[in-house]
Symmetry: C2
Subunit: 398 residues, 2 copies
């Protein structure tokens, strides 16, 4: 049978860098291409105790194994909302917080409820491939705006807002951005908010790494000054407790949340309730902040190791960001070199990196930049991998 796929998905292909991602399951590969939290960051012992408690109590066990409500467990939603309020001054009277199946589901549903096919989603260039592909899967048109040192180009953003009447969403990762590790300045956050308000475009603020600062000062999320209800905030427990449990959340104006809930119900009914209970009990009975402080320390050390190795081994012509948190460093060869070709060469030497073109919202043009992750590899792999990569680049740029 000749299948007639929908227009929105018929152009979608498995990722061009699938081969690189496949290689990540090979333990002999140094996985700078991943985005996994460090396995040693999972509070396994505590989760084991909580699991044991839940399955030993017949009423808790039944709750964990039975259907549950789409919006998420009420007490857990309250905990997440209180935490957002407390840590980030997020949540106004008209806002509502729901639980999602990982942060990813929030990004997907936000696009589904706001965008028709052909509508424009504005994105930082470069930006997170998982989000870009979600928007593509709804037939939207992505328009990229260059990311500068202190965040998205305001001039570029206003030009797009002026020109694109069907712009519905600005997708932005202001803190420890994926793939660059950059953080948008407070001034720019305010300017972005003002611009989007002026042009009637909803901001989708993705903040999966926001709690992972290991240097410098916190910058308030855009959602924290959302008096007008134009910001959908998406967060996740993936990078602070466990990614495999698929627990994220959205805080957004009620009207938007209500549409998202209807779509979530028809998407997966509810997020798995056992891990909602695990997160909830962890917040109630353990010290989440102390745990996060440990994770920050771990990532600060690993990031330091990578930066040190880059300073030691990389040629002076290679530039790179110095993140104050998160899990990614962005490096770049001089203009004109193609990092996709570099990635293929590096893979031959068993080092996996992600070429910058992967993260380009609206063009396939080659990029001299590439993404490096330091949370997945071991300490020894970080130093050794950067050393090998420096050799590969030296040969490549000859």
């Amino acid at each position: 049978m000749e299948y007639r796929f929908s227009n929105k998905v018929s152009g979608l292909k498995p990722s061009a860098i699938r081969e690189i991602f496949k290689s990540l399951t090979d333990p002999s590969i140094i996985a700078f291409a991943a985005g996994n939290p460090a396995a040693e960051s999972f509070p396994t012992e505590d989760i084991k105790k909580i699991a044991d408690k839940i399955f030993s109590d017949s009423s808790l066990a039944t709750e964990a194994l039975q259907y549950s409500v789409t919006e998420g467990k009420t007490h857990f939603r309250d905990q997440v909302a209180a935490r957002l309020k407390d840590k980030f001054s997020i949540g106004r009277e008209n806002d509502e917080t729901i639980i999602t199946t990982g942060g990813q589901q929030g990004l997907d549903l936000a696009c589904k409820v706001l965008c028709n096919e052909g509508d424009v989603v504005i994105c930082e260039n470069p930006s997170f491939i998982g989000a870009l592909n979600a928007y593509r899967s709804y037939g939207t048109r992505l328009v990229g705006v260059d990311l500068e040192e202190d965040g998205i180009s305001l001039e570029g953003l206003e030009n797009v807002l002026k020109k694109e009447k069907n712009a519905k969403l600005l997708y932005i990762i202001p803190t420890f951005q994926n793939p660059t590790g950059k953080t948008t300045s407070l001034e720019k956050r305010k300017a972005v908010y003002r611009l989007c308000r002026k042009y009637g475009v909803v901001i989708l603020e993705d903040n999966p790494y926001g709690e992972l600062r290991f240097a410098g000062e916190d910058v308030p999320p855009i959602k924290s000054f959302d008096e007008e209800g134009i910001v959908i905030y998406s967060g996740s427990f993936s990078k602070i407790l466990s990614a495999g449990m698929r627990i994220g959340f959205v805080c957004a104006p009620q009207e938007i949340v209500q549409k998202m809930v209807v779509c979530k119900q028809t998407n997966d009914v509810h997020s798995n309730i056992f891990f909602q209970m695990v997160c909830s009990q962890y917040i109630d009975n353990y010290d989440l902040d102390a745990h996060i402080a440990e994770v920050r320390k771990l990532y600060g050390r690993k990031c330091g190791l990578m930066i040190d190795a880059m300073e030691k081994y990389f040629d002076d012509s290679i530039t790179f960001t110095r993140p104050e948190g998160g899990i990614f460093v962005w490096a770049a060869m001089p203009e004109g070199y193609d990092s996709a070709a570099l990635a293929r060469e590096a893979l031959k030497r068993k080092v996996a990196i992600v070429p910058g073109s992967t993260f380009n919202p609206d063009s396939n043009k080659p990029s001299n930049g590439f993404r490096l992750n330091y949370s997945t590899p071991t300490d020894a792999q970080i130093t050794e991998g950067i050393r090998i990569l420096s050799e590969v680049m030296r040969d490549f740029m000859k």
Copy 2:
């Protein structure tokens, strides 16, 4: 801000029967309106042991808490595929099996990859509300075909197939249908397959209750005679192990599965891996078939209780199905009575039922039928609830 929602979702409203569903959290209500598996059907002790084993082994624990592959854990996919082959003769060379976040996600993704807005999805009338709302959320047009005693009307189906050139999908629940409990005959299954092949329409066969037969003889799924690759088969562990864990699966032609995987990746990255491991270990180390035999016995008894009570208390003018499996009975007052009004009256007496109009794909016209579930209420509630409902109906039909 005035939000501009997408066309596909702007008409979506929280379910009109939300009040009935809300009432289900009130323990004083007799919940014939639910679709929950019986809490006593969960193998809690075994799941506790498996959870303990996973979290006690650092390599298993890391696997359970880390990101995983979108298609699902390889060994688990192989187990599911083998089981489908073994029990149902499902799976040809070109078919592939993937894990989904509950059966619901398979229904959602199938529609997303095949249907443009305005395309037609053909459904049994009445049919499962969760699927109908998923298709609505993609802006498709639903066309219902009447369900007869032995399955969908073939004449009705062919008329629709002839007329609707944009029909992309036939959504069908051939075994212990939701909401009617009816099972499509083998003859009709074959005829449905032939018709869809003739008109180039993909069949989405939803089979969440297929293993819950407690009387009569198994009827092969439509997918079991799918030599041409036109059937997407969706199944689930919700009704045989646990609903809260959100583990389902799809077996379909590779080309379709590949598109679904791309959309799943942007939807929730992967289904929670811990419960994939739980199901997988349950299949490997426990006796799933023996467990299902117990669940069947339980539901056979509960169904018998309900039917006995209906025979004892209901007026002769009330008709009802006698399911051979699954979790639902369909009852009907004589033509002309509106079961939505009956449901409101019943709720005043603390009995919750779902009016038939809820399940109508393409019309809001009142229905004299209603759905009763026997897996959720206790034995005592079943008998007492049916007695109360008979009184409510007697008053209502006066």
